[in-house]
Symmetry: C2
Amino acid sequence: MSHSPSVERWGVHEIKLAGPADGNPFAEVRLSARYQYRNRIVEAEGFYDGDGVYRVRFMPDAVGPWRFTTVSNVDELDGVSGGFEATPPGAGNHGPVRAVATGFAYADGTPYLPFGTTCYHWTHDMDEARERETLRTLAVSPFNKVRMCVLPTGRMKPPEVPFAGEDPHGLDKTRFNPVFFRHLEARVADLRDLGVEADVILFHPYDEGLRGIEDMGRDTDHAYLRYVIARLAAYRNVWWSAANEYDFNPAKTVADWDDILRTIQRLDPYEHLRSIHNGTRMYEVATLYDFTKPWVTHQSIQHWDATPTDAWLRACQKPVVIDEIAYEGDAGKRWGNITGAELVERFWEGMARGGYVGHGEVLSGGPGRPWLGNGGTLLGESPARIAFLRTIMEERRDGTILRYLGRRQPAQVTVELPPERGYKVELIDTWNMTITPVDRGHRGRVRVGLPRRPYLALRMTRT
Amino acid sequence: MSHSPSVERWGVHEIKLAGPADGNPFAEVRLSARYQYRNRIVEAEGFYDGDGVYRVRFMPDAVGPWRFTTVSNVDELDGVSGGFEATPPGAGNHGPVRAVATGFAYADGTPYLPFGTTCYHWTHDMDEARERETLRTLAVSPFNKVRMCVLPTGRMKPPEVPFAGEDPHGLDKTRFNPVFFRHLEARVADLRDLGVEADVILFHPYDEGLRGIEDMGRDTDHAYLRYVIARLAAYRNVWWSAANEYDFNPAKTVADWDDILRTIQRLDPYEHLRSIHNGTRMYEVATLYDFTKPWVTHQSIQHWDATPTDAWLRACQKPVVIDEIAYEGDAGKRWGNITGAELVERFWEGMARGGYVGHGEVLSGGPGRPWLGNGGTLLGESPARIAFLRTIMEERRDGTILRYLGRRQPAQVTVELPPERGYKVELIDTWNMTITPVDRGHRGRVRVGLPRRPYLALRMTRT
């Protein structure tokens, strides 16, 4: 046995053990570790990492001494114990993100405003140059969350897949492929180090019948969840998205998804954020999951329009994240060919209503395949404007009033300011990214004259 | 008695009679005329026009000899008979507009595509210069329908109102004001002569309690309808809109509106188009009237979004006219401050879905009050683009395929053309009003590369 002698709060503690390699260790060996801090015990699932190596990973949530003891149905893995010191978190480590009312905050209380993007398969090619490019792009982008899939899609021919055996037709879904997962978790760690949340999509309906992963049966689904969670849950930047477009999978019912979400909840000792993302025939009403169910932490939505955000928040007091609202692009599909201006409009509309909107890009003309599937470089016009919006949202303080005018162009607007304080009023051009002082020292009812153009906002700040 | 010796088909035949001026002729004298053409009899209501003058108006729908005999409860008005010749219609006279499936056509079979605008009170000021300006504006505009109110709104101080007595507090709603109506019908005739339909709004909820016209009681409502219809129904360009924003009138129930629409149907011998227009809290689902009711000829809708047109047409196989979809303007109200580009986008979206969209303008900066209320001059950017759209819609033939791309900007689109014919493909820029040939001689599946900008359409025409 070896293990990390010390780890920072919300870092990854790992125990490494030697054990049996015969039979099917993935299915036959059960391993976990009970971690104790003072009078509190947290149990973390372990996993088989191939070649007779077993590991348990754990994310300590408190600074100070921790002890652990392993539990296994195999003697040599059972009852192994040790201790380590959790040190204060390093710079940029605020812990995992939690839902707080209809917003989010890191575990240390720092507010977190999701500005997500999507690169479904940026890790599957195992193309190191492309992955580094993706990480460099993210580092200078406004995006602090990435939706990404564990499972490949039907048409891909990735060098490694999550399951053992011959891809695609000879897979053994009772065994996993540690090479695939080591690579995946290294990329999750890279995102963590950039301050980017990994919104990990566990199932999707894009298999086209090739690998049979849409309908593996309940036991295999559970084994898969157990393995993924054992490997990834200790990374503080992980979110669980039970599925992309869950309702496009005809093999699973809502009861199946309930069971999957409850299984995630049971297996993950850290209560990472959990949701499930709907498909929708665009321009029809979305088939949303019932987000009031207690095993869901936030509302992960696909819908082309942000204006129902008010209704979604009234129906369910959990954060609204419209992860897909159509993408900036020039693809043939409706979801992938709105203009940058239109996507920015939808970001502002959603955020003005108290929700959060996600980005994606499917523009042709770059050196590789589009960002949405494979990462790489961003070509669009929206990221700069989303960065501008992010700055404005993060600068917002209690008492700051933002009013977004969208496609409307009133000659003047009347703003009712609390009469007891003076306010500075600024005109924001959300597309041209300018902030122009209108006046300062306003109180009470203020009339502001506006230029005749769309995509304006007003910001009122206490002086 | 005097009467028109001849009148063109779908023109106005008028009988003038002398009768009692004492008492309340509006309430006490009943007058109608039975018009006979061959073996067919049509009865038209007459009306009291003040100063002991009674009139009956009638719109003959067939060329040839017509006979009439009056019917009255007053001896001197009863049994008066005569005849006249209906001549073929003059240039530009195609008869009244009818609903045909989910579209419209004039009575002579000429297709009619409504490109409506709204000037609610352009006649109420009786400002001749302004009215002439409005008519000149309409004459050079793409608009061939105007929504206009009979009743004034609460805050107006018009020189004449529809009722007798002292305006606003001393009105006698059992008597009408012929001066008001003579003026109104002269403007309806002006519109007719320009080829513009008058979508006459009979009730509205904008009285602010001043004249009590939102809750006059059933009998007074009926007398008002009888009088308006007797005066106006013979004008072939009249449409009946039972109300604007009917659901904003708390004094009337849906059953009341049913009764009003059925009363209009009973009193109007020509079956002019009949509908009723909803209010809506914008950005909530509109409270539409049930347009499947047999006394409604088309779906008159207020909604900010044209995309439900498909659903409305599925639910009810009658033409969809989104008379209010928000207006080009810079007003403080949400319904009155979208950009010209946004309004044009909504026009195309609605028409691409098989509906019709209405225009309105509330831009400040002109010499008078905005177009929406009072007519005058148009200042906006949308009318030129709506004219361009109208030309394209009117040029469309059987087999012409239009595909509107809206805010989407696909790098290419695939069009499936019937393989047995050659097609010319053109790229339409709906905002810049250009039509660019892409190629000619296409057959079957065609891929068309597109520039990266919004508001494009493709037109495929048989060669």
